[in-house]
């Protein structure tokens, strides 16, 4: 239930950090990472994941398939 940031592609511009409604993004070792425990894929907040929408590099904020997809609590 989370997105992840492909570190090798991250420009460290920090745009995603400010947009995340869950404050799940932070800087670590020169690039940004998403805390999968906090990420909700923006479901319930916005139409699409904000980190992916604002990221200047395509395919850098992507679904992390090692976690089950997030579903908003009913």
């Amino acid at each position: 239930m989370a997105l992840k940031i492909v570190a090798s592609q991250c420009t460290s511009c920090s745009a995603c950090e400010a947009e995340c409604p869950n404050v799940a993004i932070y800087e670590k070792g020169g690039t940004f990472v998403i805390d999968p425990k906090k990420c909700t894929e923006c479901i319930g907040h916005f139409d699409s994941p904000q980190c992916a929408a604002v990221c200047p590099v395509d395919d850098t904020c992507v679904i992390d398939h090692s976690y089950p997809r997030y579903q908003a609590a009913e």
């Binding site: 592609q9 420009t11 460290s12 511009c13 920090s14 745009a15 400010a18 947009e19 916005f46 139409d47 699409s48 904000q50 929408a53 604002v54 200047p56 590099v57």
Partner: protein, 520 residues
């Protein structure tokens, strides 16, 4: 406010006094103005010219708003704003080369606190540094907290430094009041189109109100917000410069429309810049092989817009962490490590004293030009030509041909000497060029010039330049540029009139795609 001099009644053919010649030339330099037309003036000619005093006070020490000031005053950018809210096809955020200089590129990001310390360190080391700008490397208004925190800290500790920012305009309407609240006098907006169909070819997407928009919809949103922001700023008396990237085949002809649109909304100065699109930058335009304009294409677009509005021609398309005079980059002296180790002593009085000396230098330069202009008053000729000048600054011909990293280009006519741009000739990120290659590079860069003025030049390049049809001129070494150029031009006209030489048109020249390197 001082009454502006009126030019309407002055006819070029009927100039009677030196003063009248001066006014004509001031007008011709692209920064004077015909008073009643509503055109703003950047006062870059002999000084204040016909600018209202309150506007002159805002631009006279700002190197990016006054061509004349940029020879004397320096600026710095602090890279506190890495995030961006739009994507441009000429920008690639992944690429950074320490020896390279162009918009969007920085070596390290700064926190607002680090930025404030850096400003104090630079201001203490470079007393002619008068302007602090935030230009990214993303967009300052996509990082509003960091940008305004930086302004707040600097306004407190270095109140004599002018604050300015450069934005893509998408978020501008939301922040105009905050900008005005920090007494920011100068805002630059990059406006590449006013037609969303054109915009769709330049901007793949914009991010606005939590949503990514693409195509024409994105460009429509962007142009509406840009023009709205521009109007809001000019209503508040904030001077606005509009930057436009000239992209041949995409917006080159359209920029005339952009020029009209921004002029009618009160923009003060228009800066049309050539596209930088080397393939190795990895930008969309770089990868698709989109070319930049030639020197003559750029100049002719700038000339055609000049009647509408003042054109900036001295832009060096600098980095978002540039430090120093335009055209030099001292950012490597002020890395975070070095700044933190520096003992900073911010002395307002010594900065003032230094700047008073700079003003004396300026006055001497203007006086020298006036003196020589008088000798052209009687000349009558349609000849208009370009000359290149090797200079280290201060308005003097004081650089050795072989040491020049760039040449100033001046257009000469019986109306006087008019600065029309720079040509870079440094070898960007290339170690392996031989001497001959670099001479060929220089000749290609100034191939549209009839002469090149230098402090000194060796025998070999001298004969190669002559072969290429460019006259090397070293007889005015260490003299004032405009005075010397006018004197040379008068002599040239005499030789043409006597039949000693024949005036021929020159060809086009290349704009180098690399940017000015940091390595000094």
């Amino acid at each position: 406010m001082q009454a502006p001099a009126q030019h309407e009644g002055v006819n070029v053919g009927a100039i009677a006094t030196v003063d009248a010649v001066m006014q004509q030339v001031a007008e011709h330099k692209g920064c004077g103005t015909s008073g009643g037309s509503g055109k703003a003036s950047c006062g870059s000619a002999a000084g204040q010219g016909d600018l209202p005093t309150e506007i002159w006070d805002k631009v006279k020490n700002h190197p990016c708003y006054s061509e004349e000031a940029h020879h004397h005053y320096a600026r710095m950018h602090v890279a506190v704003a890495p995030a961006c809210n739009i994507q441009c096809n000429y920008c690639n955020r992944k690429y950074d080369c320490a020896n390279e200089s162009r918009p969007g590129v920085v070596s390290e990001k700064l926190s607002p606190e680090q930025a404030a310390k850096k400003v104090l360190a630079v201001a203490s080391t470079i007393p002619q540094m008068t302007v602090l700008g935030i230009a990214g490397p993303g967009d300052p208004l996509a990082n509003p907290e960091k940008t305004f925190k930086t302004f707040e800290l600097i306004a407190k500790t270095a109140p004599d430094i002018k604050l300015c920012l450069s934005t893509n305009g998408l978020a501008l309407p939301d922040h105009v009041d905050t900008i005005a609240g920090f007494n920011v006098d100068h805002v630059t907006i990059t406006i590449n189109m006013v037609d969303p169909e054109v915009g769709a070819k330049i901007y793949p997407w914009v991010f606005w109100k939590h949503k990514r928009y693409t195509g024409v919809e994105a460009a429509k949103l962007l142009t509406d917000r840009q023009l709205q922001g521009l109007e809001m700023l000019t209503e508040r008396g904030i001077l606005c410069k509009v930057n436009s990237v000239m992209i041949p085949g995409i917006n080159d002809k359209h920029l005339v429309e952009v020029n009209k649109a921004v002029k009618s909304r009160g923009a003060f100065l228009h800066n049309i810049m050539p596209l930088i699109s080397a393939a190795e930058h990895g930008t969309v335009f770089g990868l698709t092989g989109q070319r930049g304009p030639t020197a003559q294409e750029l100049k002719s677009l700038q000339d055609s817009c000049e009647g509408e509005m003042n054109m900036m021609r001295h832009c060096r398309q600098c980095r978002a962490d540039a430090v120093g005079l335009l055209g030099e980059d001292r950012s490597a002296e002020f890395t975070t490590d070095k700044i933190m180790a520096m003992e900073v002593n911010y002395d307002l009085d010594s900065r003032k004293a230094y700047q008073e000396k700079v003003e004396e230098e300026r006055v001497a330069k203007v006086a020298a030009k006036q003196e020589e202009l008088a000798t052209l008053a009687g000349a009558n000729s349609d000849i208009k030509l370009l000359t290149a000048v090797a200079t280290k600054g201060s308005g003097l011909i004081n650089e050795h041909f072989g040491h020049a990293k760039e040449f100033q280009v001046w257009e000469l006519s019986t109306a006087g000497a008019k600065f029309v741009g720079h040509r870079r000739v440094d070898l960007y990120c290339q170690g392996g060029y031989g001497e001959e290659d670099s001479l060929e590079t220089i000749i290609r860069a100034i191939n549209d010039c009839h002469a090149v003025f230098v402090a000194k030049i060796g025998g070999c390049p001298k004969s190669d330049l002559i072969k290429a049809g460019i006259e090397p001129v070293d007889q005015y070494a260490h003299e004032f540029i405009e005075k010397s150029a006018i004197s040379w031009f008068k002599n040239y006209l005499d030789k043409v009139n006597s039949g000693e030489i024949e005036h021929v048109q020159r060809g086009d020249a290349e704009i180098r795609q690399g940017a000015l390197t940091a390595a000094a």
